[in-house]
Amino acid sequence: MSKRKRPDSNAPSDSLTDHERLIYDVIRSKQDMGIWTRDMKRELRVNLPDNIVTKSIKSLQNKSLIKEVVNIHSKGKKHLMAVEFEPSKEISGGAWYSEGSLDTEFIKVVKSQCLKQIIKLKVATLEGISDSIKRSGAFKVDLTKQQIEEIVRALVLDNQIMEVKSNGSGEFTNIPVGKVCYKNVSKGGGGGEPKTGSLASIPCGVCPQINICKPDGVISPKTCVYYTKWLDF
């Protein structure tokens, strides 16, 4: 006999009202994507009054047939899903989200761990970083290679590390030629704060009004408050 559960024949769902059955079917058909209450109502083939819908949802929840999940795209909107599903990555945001928000603390910790290992190793491949982190025992759970890769890519975008290709000699001695490696950005962009360029170091370079500022306009270099502040010696 198949071990697969057949929710249809589950005891609680047998005792559903017609309305509950209609609603439950729509929600369950969405599998791990779930559905927003308003959309669900639209998909019902019959027009049910709001209070009936609300009551039915309550009852389905009480019977532990559906649950409410957080959709990262629309927090605050009631998003429903059949209990046997786990929210897909599109809904939950994946490993870096918790409770529908980006888990910035966690990301920060992983970033700094990766950076630490890269600095320690001088030149590191993804596998190298991954192993090194595992050995350090910094995390209770093992991070997947994909997670490390995502973090490393973000560090490159942060300009804290850079991507280089191994040439097989010098500091790359143990790395096959052509393999992508990562190195700490030693100077220039070091510390992740980009070096302030010439344009960015004057008021106009960072000015939100530059598109409306005219030599003789209401906003003009003569009357400009950013300049006045800048030149306040």
Binding site: K187, G197, I202
Partner: protein
């Protein structure tokens, strides 16, 4: 294509240097393109005399070049030639860089050279005789100027390509025929990529340029005594703007010392500034060692550069690089291993291409990275860290990416990413495309992209805008404290002294910012 603020900035520079009238003619040419004198008159509504004088000043100062075109299917009486004037935008920009040019010069040459070029920059164009008169008039006691040493100085500067002979006053611009391609007379120039579109400005400049050998040669006829006043020599005192003759100067006439006119070769200076910019960039990213190596490579290869925007230097072997490195004081204590290691570092960042033991500088890469950093820094300061990461992602990938994908890769909250992207798009930093997918339910995706070409033009325009604003603010601040600045030092007491100190600091900050901003304009416009 000129941007709006590029034009405004250029007009402002000309107004500051030569007044409203000249600026009016200049603006007319900037906005309308090449025009005949008649048309300039029509558009500016100035008198014939005014237009003529303004054009003469602009030509004398190398900001306008005259040319003629042959009307292809002329009238019965043969092709009709008419003189047109084209404004040289780049040369107008160079006017704010004179101090930089002189600094370069003073690092390589003696004071006499600097003074000679200073005269050329001030007057635009001079003959040897005029240079001599000028030197004479500012002669200090015990430091007599003689013609021979001045001529020697000139030869030195011409050989170094910092001074050149003036171009033809009115070259003939051939209509470009389909089969033959543009008619070119100079060998070095025909190496240019076929199909690369040229502006009229570039075509005219090229047509006016003397042949390489002539351009960098000094005519000497020592027999005739130049010191002696001759009947036909122009008696203009130095200091006066020389605007005689420039229109009538004969290109292939007798090359006699009296009539050959020289000017500063801006290209030579810009090339040096480009090199300097590359060295500074390498120093900021790596270290002094790498900067020394790059500088030595430049030293050894720069004479082979044919134009300012060279892509790669000619390849050099390790030993020839080393030989050059130890010639300089800074590189003398570098070992061969150290040089090799620096070359590896330079290669890692793609600043130098290494192949089978020869090395070549990748100018384009160095400049591209420097440009990226300049733009990224604006994005970071104006829109914040998340925007910085998003921008770098799009800029590196160079293709369309979807909002969700962007927020995932950059770790920016789903609800924040669209807001940031929208802001960047609204300010002209990104392109947006809508993608509508019609499935069971119609859904719409937004895709975003950095288009370097469009963005760079936009950023350059912002730089010109900022340069204009800086300049306007300088004049405003100085104007406000005009009386105070004219006060003798002993009258400045108490609060007056405080105000004086303030305006001094303001001036230093604003003027140094102008110079720095111009470095960025050089980076985006000239390099």
């Amino acid at each position: 294509m000129l941007t709006e603020y590029g034009t405004k900035h250029a007009v402002h520079v000309i107004t500051n240097h030569f007044g409203d009238l000249v600026a009016k003619v200049c603006e007319c040419l900037l906005r309308k393109g090449p025009l005949t004198r008649q048309n300039v008159k029509r558009y500016t509504e100035l008198s014939d005399e005014q237009v003529k004088n303004a054009l003469l000043v602009l030509i004398q100062q190398n900001c306008v070049q005259a040319f003629t075109t042959e009307q292809p299917d002329g009238f019965a009486d043969g092709p009709k030639a008419n003189t047109q004037y084209v404004v040289l935008f780049d040369n107008i920009l160079h006017r704010v860089r004179f101090a930089k040019f002189l600094t370069i010069l003073s690092q390589e040459f003696d004071q006499q050279c600097v003074e000679l070029v200073q005269g050329l920059l001030e007057h635009g164009r001079l003959t040897l005789k005029q240079m001599f008169d000028r030197a004479k008039s500012s002669e200090k006691e015990g430091n007599l100027v003689d013609l021979d040493s001045l001529r020697e100085t000139l030869v030195k500067l011409v050989t170094a390509h910092y001074v050149e002979r003036c171009p033809a006053s009115e070259p003939l611009l051939m209509p470009i025929s389909e089969e033959e391609g543009p008619a070119r007379k100079k060998g070095s120039k025909s190496a240019k990529k076929i199909g690369e579109p040229e502006t009229i400005e570039q075509q005219v400049v090229e047509a006016a340029l003397p042949m390489e050998a002539m351009r960098f040669s000094v005519v000497t006829n020592v027999e005739s005594d130049v010191g002696e006043k001759e009947k036909n020599s122009n008696n203009v005192t130095p200091g006066e703007k020389r605007k005689h003759d420039v229109l009538e100067l004969d290109e292939c006439g007798v090359a006699d010392e009296q009539s050959v006119v020289y000017r500063a070769n801006f290209e030579g200076f810009i090339r040096r500034l480009r090199h300097k910019g590359c060295i500074d960039h390498v120093r900021a990213h790596l270290d002094d060692g790498a900067a020394n190596v790059l500088s030595a490579m430049l030293q050894a290869t720069s004479s082979a550069e044919k134009k300012v925007k060279t892509k790669n230097s000619v390849p050099l072997s390790l030993s020839s690089i080393y030989e050059e490195v130890i010639k300089s004081e800074a590189g003398r204590n570098m070992t061969l291993d150290h040089v090799r290691a620096s070359l590896v570092q330079l290669g890692e960042l793609s600043f130098v291409d290494a192949s089978s033991d020869s090395y070549s500088i990748d100018f384009e890469k160095i400049i591209e990275i420097a440009q990226n950093e300049e733009v990224e820094s604006v994005v970071s300061k104006r829109y914040g860290r998340d925007a910085y990461r998003i921008f770098r992602l799009l800029s590196k990938s160079g293709r369309l990416l979807e909002t969700d994908k962007i927020s995932d890769t950059t770790f920016v909250e789903k609800k924040d990413a669209p807001k940031i992207l929208y802001k960047l798009w609204k300010d002209g930093y990104l392109l947006m495309e809508k993608l509508v997918v019609t499935g069971a339910r119609q859904s719409q995706f937004l895709l975003w992209k950095v288009n370097r070409q469009i963005l760079w033009k936009h950023v350059l325009d912002e730089m010109f805008h900022a340069a204009l604003n800086l300049s306007l603010r300088v004049s405003y601040e100085l104007d406000r404290e005009k009386e105070l600045l004219n006060l003798p030092a002993d009258k400045r007491t108490g609060p007056l002294q405080d105000r004086y100190n303030r305006i001094r600091k303001v001036r230093i900050l604003l003027e140094s910012s102008q110079m720095k901003l111009d470095d960025a304009i050089l980076l985006f416009h000239d390099f």
